[in-house]
Symmetry: D2
């Protein structure tokens, strides 16, 4: 009963290496989370505890692949992880990266459930995922802007919707009908005039989503600790050097991560955290054999 | 802050449809499970409770995608799910299928941990996965044979190895050295002469792995309930009809599944369960628009 | 000016291996051939010389990759080549196979132009191409049936259309309008009643397209000369042997090929030439390392 | 004999869209050109006529896809075409782009053969091809540098090799052995001391290869004639505009193209022709629905 006779079946496996040099976004989405949220009595329009649970799961993924993932951004039941351009994680094999990230996120979500939620878990929460490649930093920035703009649009709608339902006694259908076709300004006004809610005072986490990054500069840790690496150089390119993380062996702890609820559409954040999207497009990221 | 300006980033998403008409195997593997097993005091050479936990997770996946997955085969920390040729699950999108199956398996594994194991979960168990396409039924049969032959080879080695360590007081290195280069017959003899173990009497689950299939024929349920479907026919192909499941809306329960520990390399099992690998290669599976 | 500094750019090349064990069809289509045909005064509804030129180009491709391509089928300005399941041509690299076949076909088309056509070549004829995988023999049969049914439909229409234009003095628009919405029977009747044309007497090449296969059985050549190859066998599979071509080193000549204009939708042809679609689906094609 | 019954076979076709926003290089290579060159008495170490024939074929490709291809670089029997980042040619379908370019190049190569060569064409010249994606402009620059460095290395070797054979009467084996392990400097010295050849005076075309670009600035044509296009703008991105070609409908002629034999490794050329690699990495290329 030797294996060797059957081993040829491995030849059907495909190479699914992500194109080198591109940013890659791994995005997870909750499967049937409308029903899952209802069954577990998630608060409306936002359940802060469930969001914090998601953030905890995301942190674990970031910690585990600290030298490969540069940041994570989440809202509602979705989370996006940004893989560094230079990363050679699992030789950039798409299936392996995708499945490992989805599995780990799910695992922590279930494992830590009771820490955050006071209702028992009734059914296995499940996430699906996909990986999207972005060749340029501007594409990646626009991807993150897209998700944050989506957070805003959804949250404004949901805030108005549940105010109508919970405070005004409207049915779901009535609330839907009342909001249909309204623009942002109208929803803001409705919230203020009818419910005394100034939308801009709503919690930042709800309005901006959650961005998790490695915390720079705490004791003994000066971020980014990078060493200069000499590229093979020639006349024209001489002096091209760049910096890589030195923290490979320092296992990060939860405290090493910031959860921020801040604007990532405008340039300000990115100017202050310029090192995050490094190396810039005009400085060749190292491409390594996989 | 409209989304529309950024929505072009969706154009970077790729189509990753699995080739129609092929069998697809979704195979999961535990990540760093040697260390995970040690940390959670898994019994050696096999931890029956952990295997049963895996089987429970696999059952949940099968139940959920009952009309799409035909069987699952597991051993140690790996599990393979066979997607029907005709399945149009998630429009056959590879990432969606892979991530959902891995996530659900992981979710149940954590959720049911305490039902099966008496040690507390210390860290999030994680699985990676991949999907492999097999065009012909003989390829799929050989894939399953490969995994079962691998189960045998590993289990015989591990049984001998841990007998040497646990009963004979050998160190891990000594046991490894003693077994190096021995063939199956020699390991069998060593087990019998030194430890009085007749390998063939070892539990079937350890020697054959676990195969899970939909249980046919229990009360009120006659498997396979298929209705004849008329294919578009012409002179040459007339009469080509085939059968499809009618159970779409009957949500199956755990009792509807058999966990078998049986030989799947020889033909016997497949002759008795001929409907599993249906339709045969010479009867065209329906290919549907996705 | 050493190359080595830049060689990393090769890491961006992708692996594009065709799934093993599948039939692969390489289909070429003329680019802008309506205009090309007009410019070179192709006869309507069919230009026999141009079809023969295409056939000559296809023969050259078949001859060159004799052990890899099992047949070719052409009509109008398109040609399909069937790659054997077992073929490991160029390690099954999709781009290499596609580009080589398209290039060679084009090259012969131009090179032999003046042998077949009496008008000078005004512009470079260009073909595009694609490769489609078919897991089962029934899929491949249906692919070929699809192309031959298309030949029939197009040719019947074109025969009626050009009869109206050339013999009846109708304008292109009038002819189009007259035929719009007519079914096969009505077109047949129109041809017969107005023009005395019995469509079934039209040349087979126009109605059935051209199928090119290796000629069996001429002097000293008994097709298929295959030798038995022992597969790794075991109890269940013992005796599985099959046959492979022995002609590897015999460079075939044009005479070794048949151009047939025959029905390939019904089973008759395939029963008579059963060896063409060999090995059958239930006999595992050899999968080799690439 | 309707087509519809078989049309499902189209569902097996795959989507093979090139990742948007990336540069794409289509590289062609002569198939078995060592033997082809010998059979057609190509001059050694370089056949200027054959190189000019290649250049003519490349020009035709550039002319045809003028708004999509930004430049072409060729040496020996290979040619690379650079597809613009923004190009939506054939909806970026890889197979269609690859096959069309290879076919057109081959077609012109055969069609114009007798204009450049004085020996009759004995066999169909064939080229294979592949497409490689480069996310960043620096990657594309390095790709082109790689090809030009390769041109230099090969040409220096070949110049020395054929001097030893043709002028010194060495056998092919002797010449090979003499050059084995020598560096550039040693080959230069050998050429100068033994054959009085100053390598730097060898023809630029042989040493630098051929770069073909659209000719700017001839009568009535001011390159690059681009019009400003307003991007959807917001606070942060406001003013982002860029330029697109206005020449879409002006069919270019051969005279509109320059064949240059110049250094493309150093920055000088690219500074002078900054518009070629436009838009720069930090200005988002338009991504359009395909």
């Amino acid at each position: 009963m030797a294996c060797s006779r059957f081993e040829y079946v491995k030849l059907f496996e495909s190479h699914d290496r992500l194109l080198p040099g591109c940013w890659a976004v791994i995005r997870l989405d909750g499967r049937c989370f409308t029903s899952f949220a209802k069954k577990h009595s998630f608060r409306k329009p936002n359940d802060e505890r469930a969001l914090n649970l998601s953030n905890a799961a995301a942190k674990q993924v970031l910690k585990t692949f600290d030298n490969h993932l540069v940041l994570a951004y989440g809202q509602s039941d979705e989370y996006s992880f940004v893989l560094k351009r230079e990363s050679n994680l699992f030789s950039r094999r798409e299936s392996k990266i995708l499945s490992t990230v989805v599995s780990m996120f799910t695992s922590v979500y279930v494992l830590m459930w009771s820490k955050f939620m006071d209702v028992e878990l009734q059914e296995p929460p499940t996430f699906d995922g996909r990986i999207v490649l972005y060749p340029l930093t501007c594409h990646l920035r626009d991807y993150l802007s897209w998700r944050q703009a989506d957070t805003h649009v959804n949250n404004l709608f949901n805030t108005a919707f549940w105010a109508l339902v919970d405070q005004d006694g409207k049915s779901l259908k009535e609330a839907e009908k009342l909001l249909k076709g309204t623009n942002s300004k109208e929803k803001n006004e409705l919230l203020f005039s009818q419910f005394g809610i100034n939308y801009n005072n709503e919690p930042q986490m709800f309005r901006k989503g959650s961005l998790i990054i490695r915390r720079p500069g705490n004791e003994g840790y000066e971020f980014p600790k990078r060493r200069r690496v000499d590229q093979p150089s020639n006349e024209d390119h001489k002096g091209t050097t760049y910096l890589v993380d030195m923290q490979k062996d320092l296992a990060p702890s939860d405290d090493d991560y910031h959860v921020l609820h801040t604007d990532i559409i405008k340039d300000d954040f990115w100017k202050q955290h310029h090192y995050l999207l490094w190396p810039p497009d005009d400085s060749p990221p190292r491409i390594r054999k996989t």
